[in-house]
């Protein structure tokens, strides 16, 4: 009996030793100093682990970074509680590393956890809750822009839904006329533009590009025109809503009315309604003058070349100077000729465009003032004399791609005294990454 007991103790001891060795090997490097068990109770370790993970990311060691962030989450759970908000910074970074690896199942599961955590831990604090929604929305847009993501549009729709959730939360706490609704409503407008840019592309009209549902609902699928009409209508409604919020709010600045009319005009241009756009731009000009802005300053505002849609909604009037050279960073081949959203600049793993080119072109804008003859009002905006001055890499394939993409861009026309006028010799530095499919076709053609 005693012998048997001694045998069991010996076995347990050897098992422990074996496990320790395995752990040592698993921790890697084979160095005896590396046999340090993580101390999940040292909360100072949380910051250290996050910093180590960030360093690993900068060195492009994504797997190692993911492990550090995962450990940081465990430390936060042990020290601050399972539902603690302290895990969120490390969790966001970990999801970024998972997106970079294209591990979509893990991304989905971690985002679901993030959503649960945000609802549970932050619902009583509006600012923290909104900050969580902003973080998730940024990650979803990053996932949607990833060219290796087979379900890119679902992430876009999920990001848009989070913005709606933020609108719900603000409405229920601060009311339906809160100025804080403005950026969230504008994000939804932008999401609709991104969605419509996909719907416009050939072959992108199937159900899965218009819904976040798991399965196809029989008997219902939006036609391309219907889908575009809905996006246009929602964008228009939301911009009108932003306008009403500012009209009803005593804290609002008088020039904001003019600015929102400009955005309404921009929205019409994006959907090809140039005459209606002219009407909004004319109304904006009058609204600026009525709010006390000098005509010269209004002309300066419209002199700036703006690629549409504007990335952020400006609610304070600022005089624009004439730019020497415009810079445009295209977001992703998934959303051709679309500017990188401002939220993506917060990403720790920036996706740098591979190609760049310097182009020069003219913007011809012709039109008549609505004040003269409303029925005869027409506006034409056209891009002409497009020249690709230089490109990196310097070859005809890149130059052709640049020409195609620049022709897809939409611009706010230049106005002088309420009348559209042309603008010559606009220089733009265009940075972009081509779609993999485009590269494959070119390689295939060059081998033939």
């Amino acid at each position: 009996m005693r012998k048997a007991l001694s045998y069991s103790v010996q076995s347990l001891f050897s098992l422990t030793l074996a496990l320790n060795s395995a752990a040592g090997i698993a921790q890697g490097e084979g160095d005896p100093n590396a046999w340090i068990w993580p101390n999940n109770f040292a909360h100072a370790q949380l910051e250290q682990l996050v910093e180590e993970g960030k360093l690993a990311l900068r060195n492009n060691e994504i797997i190692s970074a993911e492990r550090r962030f995962s450990e940081a989450i465990q430390v936060a759970k042990v020290n601050y509680g399972l539902n603690s908000a302290e895990q969120i910074p490390a969790l966001e970074l970990m999801i970024e590393t998972l997106i970079a690896q294209g591990n979509w199942d893990a991304v989905d599961s971690q985002l679901e956890y993030y959503g649960w955590l945000n609802r549970l831990s932050q619902k009583n604090n509006l600012d923290s809750y909104l900050s969580g929604l902003e973080g998730m929305s940024r990650l979803l847009l990053t996932a949607s822009a990833n060219t290796n993501n087979p379900r890119s549009v679902r992430y876009l729709i999920a990001a848009k839904n989070l913005n709606w959730n933020a609108v719900d939360a603000i409405e229920s706490v601060l009311g339906k006329n809160s100025l804080r609704l403005t950026p969230w409503l504008y994000n939804i407008v932008l999401a609709h533009y991104y969605q419509s840019s996909i719907t416009k592309r050939r072959g992108m009209t199937s159900y899965e590009y218009k819904s976040d549902d798991e399965k196809i609902v029989s008997g219902w699928s939006l036609r391309k025109n219907e889908s575009m009409r809905i996006s246009y209508s929602i964008g228009n409604d939301l911009l009108e809503r932003i306008r009403q919020i500012h009209q009803n709010n005593p804290q609002s600045i008088p020039e904001t009315e003019g600015l929102i009319l400009v955005y309404l005009g921009d929205w019409e241009i994006l959907f090809g309604n140039k005459t209606r756009a002219l009407s909004f731009y004319n109304a904006a000009n009058s609204a600026f003058i009525d709010s006390g802005v000098r005509q010269g300053a209004v002309n300066q505002f419209f002199a700036k070349t703006t690629v549409l849609p504007a990335e952020t909604l400006q609610i304070q009037f600022a005089e624009n100077g004439e730019e020497n050279r415009l810079e445009f960073v295209a977001w992703s081949p998934n959303y051709v000729a679309t500017a990188t959203p401002t939220s993506q600049q917060k990403n720790l793993i920036p996706v740098e465009p591979e190609y760049n080119a310097l182009v020069r072109f003219n913007l011809d804008s012709l039109g008549s003032s609505l004040r003269a003859t409303e029925s005869a009002a027409r506006m034409v905006i056209a891009l002409s004399d497009l020249q690709v001055i230089s490109s990196t890499p310097d070859n005809s394939f890149v130059k052709d791609l640049v020409r195609n993409e620049i022709n897809l861009l939409q611009f706010r026309p230049k106005f002088e005294n309420g009348m559209p006028v042309g603008k010559n010799n606009i220089e733009m530095e265009y940075r972009f990454s081509p779609a993999i499919s485009t590269l494959n076709i070119t390689q295939h053609e060059s081998t033939q």
Binding site: W164, N165, S218, W220, L222, S233, D237
Partner: protein
């Protein structure tokens, strides 16, 4: 006389246009039965499970060219489609 005829034809056109516009007015507009806008539908759908989503579209009812906005629950549409498929299968068997 010529002026009188021009005036009466203007009046006639005005009355005809008013009648036409009244006929085309969407039913229930301004009343409490107003159908939700696309933005309202999207806001609602963002806060509920996919099975609870609603879809609204403009449909032309049989016998009329005037489109009406109709909203349905996705789950109801799915249930009706399934029922119709089963009925069809039963009849064709």
């Amino acid at each position: 006389m010529n002026q009188l005829s021009k005036f009466s034809s203007t009046i006639f056109l005005f009355v005809a246009a008013t009648l036409l516009l009244t006929a085309c007015a969407a039913p229930g507009e301004g009343s409490s039965n107003r159908m939700p806008t696309d933005a309202e539908v999207e806001q609602y759908n963002a806060s509920v499970a996919p099975s609870e989503h609603i879809v609204c579209r403009n449909e032309r009812p049989v016998g009329s060219h005037i489109p009406q906005r109709v909203c349905r629950r996705v789950a109801d549409m799915e249930a009706v489609s399934t029922l119709q498929r089963e009925e069809l299968r039963r009849i064709l068997r």
